[in-house]
Every structure is written in C-alpha cells, then in structure tokens.
Symmetry: C3
Subunit: 341 residues, 3 copies
Amino acid sequence: MSPAKHYTLTELAELLEVRLEGDGDCVIRGLAPLADAGDGELSFLSNPAYATQLTQSNAAAVILAEKSAGSFSGNKLVSANPYVTFARATQLFDRGVDEARGIHPSAVIDPSAQIGEGVSIGAHAVVGADVRIGANSRLETGVVVGRGCSLGDDVLLHAKVVLYHDVKLGNRVTIHASSIIGADGFGFAFDGEKSIKIAQLGSVLIGDDVEIGAATTIDRGALQNTVIGDGVKIDNQVQIGHNCVIGKHTVICGCVALAGSVTVGQYCIFGGASGAVGHITVADRVQVSAMTLLSKSVQEPGVVSSGTLATPTQEWKRNALRFQQLDSIAKRLKELERKLD
Amino acid sequence: MSPAKHYTLTELAELLEVRLEGDGDCVIRGLAPLADAGDGELSFLSNPAYATQLTQSNAAAVILAEKSAGSFSGNKLVSANPYVTFARATQLFDRGVDEARGIHPSAVIDPSAQIGEGVSIGAHAVVGADVRIGANSRLETGVVVGRGCSLGDDVLLHAKVVLYHDVKLGNRVTIHASSIIGADGFGFAFDGEKSIKIAQLGSVLIGDDVEIGAATTIDRGALQNTVIGDGVKIDNQVQIGHNCVIGKHTVICGCVALAGSVTVGQYCIFGGASGAVGHITVADRVQVSAMTLLSKSVQEPGVVSSGTLATPTQEWKRNALRFQQLDSIAKRLKELERKLD
Amino acid sequence: MSPAKHYTLTELAELLEVRLEGDGDCVIRGLAPLADAGDGELSFLSNPAYATQLTQSNAAAVILAEKSAGSFSGNKLVSANPYVTFARATQLFDRGVDEARGIHPSAVIDPSAQIGEGVSIGAHAVVGADVRIGANSRLETGVVVGRGCSLGDDVLLHAKVVLYHDVKLGNRVTIHASSIIGADGFGFAFDGEKSIKIAQLGSVLIGDDVEIGAATTIDRGALQNTVIGDGVKIDNQVQIGHNCVIGKHTVICGCVALAGSVTVGQYCIFGGASGAVGHITVADRVQVSAMTLLSKSVQEPGVVSSGTLATPTQEWKRNALRFQQLDSIAKRLKELERKLD
C-alpha cells in the first residue's frame, strides 16, 4: 500500500511551480475544502462564490489567485490558475496508484505479445497474440487485451477492462474498470423477416491522454474505425456507437448515448445523459445540456438544450396534455389575431 | 445446487409469523400469481385490483389481509401486510444462494487481508492488501476487492464486482454482478488547452442493508466521500457521481444518472432513467418520475416530473416545432388579451 | 490470428448467391464505402442517396440492384437486396472470430457440466454445476455460467459475460462483453420503514438467433420468467427489467431502459435511450424514437415520440418556462375565443 504522502510548503511550491507566501516548513498531509480544512491541510479558492469562506478558513495553506491573496492571512500558494494548481496538487497526494508489480503468475500472455519495460500485468489478466504494450503500462486484475491490440506507454487499464481485437490506444490512456472497447457496432440488414448481422470490420483508435470512465462502451467501426481524439475525457456508463469520431479535448459526461456515425468537434461538452442520433455532425465548442437529445447537426458553437423543467407531477401532467394541443393552440391564436386585425 | 424447497402451511405460518386458516399439512413447493397458481403453490393478494382473481384462484393457499379472508374458500395465511409477507415467503423459496464453499484455490488473496469466519471466496477473485472481510460474507467468481477495503458481515458480492481501494461496506450489503464501486469521480480542471486530472482522494462509504444492482457505478469522492445510507436500494446501470450523499432507505431505479455532489434525502424514489444535475439537494420523500431531470434543488416532499408524453411522431413533431414558439405564443396571447380589455 | 481473407469475384458471387457481371478472377481483399473503395475493395449501393457516388467510385466491384446496374461500368454483383448481400459479404471478411481452441487449463468447470462437441472455453472462465453447453459454443475469457444454465449450439459469449443460475439460451445466441443475464429483478416490499427483498424466483429465457451487446443487463423474473424472443437484437448498455417479454425480431438500441413487466410485440424498434414504464404493453411493429418514454401502452403499429427539440439554451429556457403555463395559456385562449364569438 502506498503510504500517506506529505510535503512541506516549500516542496509544494516547487512541485506546483507557484509562489509561496508564508511558512515554507509547514507540513501538508492532505487537501480539504475551505470550510473543512484544518491542521496540515491545504485548500484552494477558485470559485469566487466561496470567497467568504476564505477569511474564516482554518486551512494550513490555501492555493489562491493574486487578487485574493489579501483576503487570507495564513500561508498561501499564489497561482495564475488556482483550480489547475489544485488539480496538480491532488495528483501529489494520490494514494490510488500502486507501485509497479511485474507480471502476476496467473496472467495468461500469448508468447507473441511484445511487453514493454516496466509493464505491470495483474492477476488473471489475458493478453492475446500479436499485442504490443508500451513501457510502464499497467493492466490491473482481469484485464483482457484482444489479439492485435496496440497500447502506448503509460497506459492504465483498471480491473476487468476488455479490449476486443485490433484496438489501438495512444500514450497515457487511462480506462476505468469494466469498460469495453471494440465490441461490435450495432449493425443489421433487415431482409423482410429477420435481421442479418453486418460484421463489424473496423476497429477503435484512441489518441493520447484520453481518460475513459467505468462501464463505458465504445464500439468498433463497421468498415472504418471509431476514433477518439487526443485529450478526450469520457465518464462512466457512456455508449459511443460505431464510426463516431470525437474531436480532441471533448468532454463526455456520464450516461451519454451517441448513436453511430456521429462526428463531434473539438472542445465540446456533452452533459450527463445527453445523446445524439446517428449520422449527425456537431461543431467545435458545442455544449449539450444534461438529458438533451441532438436530433440533427449543430453547426455553431454554443449551448443547446431540450426537454422541459421538472415540476410537481399534477401541474406537469396538465401542461403535458396541453402540449399535445400545441399546434392547434398556435393556429387558433393566429386565427384570433386575424379576426382582431 | 440447492435442492428445491418445500414447507407445510404450518411451517410457513410459523416462519412468516402470520395466522393460518386451513390445512396445516398442505405442502407448498413454490409461489405463483393468483391467476396461475395451482397444486402446491402459494399466492398472495395485496393489490385490490386483483381481488376478482381471488375467488377463482386454484392456489393451494393465499396470503391475504383480514378484510379479504372472506373472499377465498381455500387455505389462507392472514397477514397485516400481505405484500411484505409475500416478500418474506419468496426468500424461503430462493434457490439462488449456494452453500458456503470456502476459498477457491485460484483466488489471489493478499496475506495481510483479514478474512472473517465462514467467508466464501470464489474462483479467480482477488483480495488486496489490508482488506477486512466480515463473517459469512461471500465473494463470487472474479470479484476484485482493492487494498484497504472493509466489508461488514454477511456481505454478498456477485461475480465480477470491483471495489477500488479503501471502499467501506456495512453489514448485509449485496452488490450484483459487474458493478464498480469507487472508480474515480469525473473531475478535471481546464487550463485553456486541455483537461488536467483532479485525483480523486475521497472514497465510498456504504451503510448496512444496501442492495446494489448489476453494472452500476458509484464513484469515489474528490476530497471527501461519496456516501450511501443504510437501507438504500439501487437498481442496475445506475451512475452515482462523486460526493453524492444518498439518504437512508432511498430507492433508485435502473439507469438513473446522478451527477456529482447531489445530496438526496431519505425515503426518496428515483424512477427509471431519471437524473439530477450536480450540486443540488433533494428533500426527504421526493419521488422523481421516470426519465425526469432535476435541474435544481427540490425543497418539498412530493412527486415531480418533466418531459412530454409519447404520441404519434407526426403529431409530436408539429407540437415540438410549436414548442420553439411558446414564449412568443404566450406574449401574443397577452397582447390579444390587452386589446380585448 | 485469423489471416486476412480474400476471394475472387466468382467465389463471392457463388457464396453470396448473386449474379456477377464482370471479371470473375478479380481478387477482393476487403470492403469499403463507395467514396473510399479502391483496388481490391468491394463496395455496395443500397441507399439511393449515395447513387451519385456510384459513377465516380474506384471500387473493384460494387454490390447493387438491377436498376442501378447501368450506372456503374466496373464489376458488379447484382442483388435483389444489396444491403442484405453487403451484410453477408461482411461476414465473409470478418477476422474477429478465432479458431476453436478447446478448453483453457485455467477454466474452472464443475464435473457435472455437460460440454458439447467442439466447445471452446477461455482462460479463467467458470462453469457451474448441472450446466449444459451445446456443440461448437464458445465461452471467451472470464465468462461465468451459473449452475443449471442451458446453452444451445453455436452460442458465443464474449469476455466477462455473466449468466446467473438457471438461465436458458437458444442456439446461435451471441452476447457481448460484460453483459449480465439473470441478476435479480428490482423488487422490494415496503414495510413502512424499510424495503424487504422479494427474492427473484423466475429466470431468463432467450430464444434462437438473439444478439445482445456489451454491458447490457437482463434481469430474472420475480415468480415467472423474463423472455427474449427469437431473432431479437439488443445493443449495448440496455436494461431490461424482470418479467419483460420481448417479441420476436424486435430491435432494441443502446441505453434503452425497460422497467419490469413490459410486454413488447414483434418487429418493434426501440431507438437509443428510449424507455418504458412498467406493466405496459407495446403492439407489434411499434417504433419508439430516441430518448422517448412510453408511459402507457401503445395499441397500434407506428412511430411514437416524446420530448422537445434541442435549441440554443437561452431560447429553450424561455420556452421551457412558458411550458409551465401551458394549461393556463390554453384556458386563456379558449376564453378569448368565447369572447370573440
């Protein structure tokens, strides 16, 4: 087990590349929100909504912006972007990552697989024929890597991840437990009586610095590949259909459902449980609100929403029934306007 | 394999703590709905909508309330709460639970793990360092318990469940196959070009008597813990974001998506595929209808809904297009009212 | 690893049972869309929207209908249903299916299990007591088959699939990675203070020629069985509640959520992320649009939809707020009409 970590403020300022104001020997053992932080705990202020908590905080030190520095009398780490500095600080205190542990004897590894230096492979993992795994990658317990897959350096596959055959992952890709990359896209041709399987002959290409949550599925392409760009972040329980192409640095929150052949631009954000029908295109920097469905392409950057707001069910029901008359209401209104003109 | 189970009505009345009217020697071998039950089968009446089926039922015996006892001439188990008595009866006939089987030789268990009395650990399961497992708990095939986890007594983890490090489960917790507890919450700080990972330093605490379905994900907290209260029941394919706090005895149906930092009260019910955006609070005893999105806090008990009703698509489309004019319709209506006044 | 496959056009015409026009010795090594296909690649035209691409395509050969044959001067495979012929052609080029490999020594198989001829069982798979597996079935890495399950011939269970006890699968059933069949349905009786478990005593019956995607869950019935008809196709991340009955050849797209006891007809299509509340019936040949919720039974064939269309959030919000006044708007409109009459 990784021991608990601790740093002096001098060490932290150096590691985080920020300016220290205060006691450099002060030892920090963890992070906490402003309202809860106490002895040995580092906190941060990035959202101005919490500024009032700053003066009263008992944090041993606070990461903050130059402009807020005057509001806190204790130790400070002054940063141009406190939230990014906070993110880097959390990484320093992370105890989730174990030391490399080599290859567990219960792992089943095809002799043709090329395993890089410093690779860890956990118990009951299975690595197929002609697989390449880059340096310092880690496959946790029960991971399955299908034949012909290629993994870059510093890849982390958590427990039970399944890669079907011929999937390619870039460097520094992290995939959380039980996600499945490269299962067959959902393609059938209907012959009038039954559905005939369209074998899915493409694969999945995932760029560098991609993180994928738990229990997410990304299907292999039908004839061509499904492609996930560099820096994309995908949450849990997401479904990405065959032949989707996701632009760099796009963020996809939990439970999003993208049908097949959706082309998404760069720096988009799909809110939780949102979705898109197949064969549409989404421009760069589009933000899709939670539980919104895109049923056609979005050409311009901006925020889009669908649905209605939650209200007490009795009220909602009256309004929802009237929604069924909405076209008629609009026509009747127009008729009244005509009469009154 | 557990053999089929059978009981006399005298035995059942005693086990279920209800009053028997009829033949105590009658042997019951299973349960069935009123309309289907026959020889050797026990049925129940709890929903008055099915009262007409009672007189015609061929059930060997029926669990029913005092007030319905006159409508059935056969054997009766008279209960103050027939549905609860039925639930208890199903448990008596359950063949899904095998006998304890000890620890399978293919399981990989860290020598520092503390394994309670009567624990079963299935094939290919992996138990990490410093884990504690309480008495009579069962880990089925391929379960992964990360280092530092703590499990109470009588915990049942079905096949392929993954607990990341330092997760705590109370007593009598059941988790169905392939659910993942304690994967990283979805937290990134955007530096203007890319997303910087916020290491997730909290964990997940799950109370007593919690049941969690299959393929559900509950993320670990960012700085503090995600907390699931005693008696909470969660269905399949649910996503619970980091730092959510779920009150005791709340029920969460399939495919619900809760974003991060949602605080839910006690005795709430989230209908299937409903959801909530992040950082909101839901009062006690709120019921959220299926596929409803909470986009702000709910302060009062009651039932809430959003969305529109399904109708033939051609009609729906006309109304949905008019929805885009709704604000204008309201204003034009007001203008007409003004003119007519 | 399966070597790359190739066929002459004469071979393909025979295998696909279509008419060849052109050079029978031309060797085909893969499939590609019309716009991308080149040397050695077979393409197809089924959607008339792509007809303009036909004349300019560099495909080595094209699958097309009689009526389109005049528009392409190269090699042709003339088919009565080009899309179905294309589907069959993809199967000929599929490299995803490995040769049978026998039973891996790390698999744990109960001695009472009956294993058919030609069955493959992958590493770390577990097969319980009294299981029957038909001829030529394949269980990939880490599959779990609970006691008493019965699998037909030519069943393919991808990595980490979990079948709980007593599940029955027909012939030629394919289930993708990490799907879970037969976990407990979500049933509890509330006693006024807490939820009492209703043991789920039914099972799951799956017909012939069913394909199920990855990370999908189909729950076992409460007293009776959950039933999936012959030829049904189910995508990834789908949740099917206990006691659902799905008619033959129905298609269920990704992320669909069906609550308990939903009875669905034959040849229905559930679009992505659509759903249905419990205890309703859906007629044959109903199509449910993406993210549509069925909150009551659908009696007639046809397409149904719910929800609103995605628009820029500022516009949407104004309209969504007005939705809350919709019943009042309708009443006020009626009042104006009365006044003007």
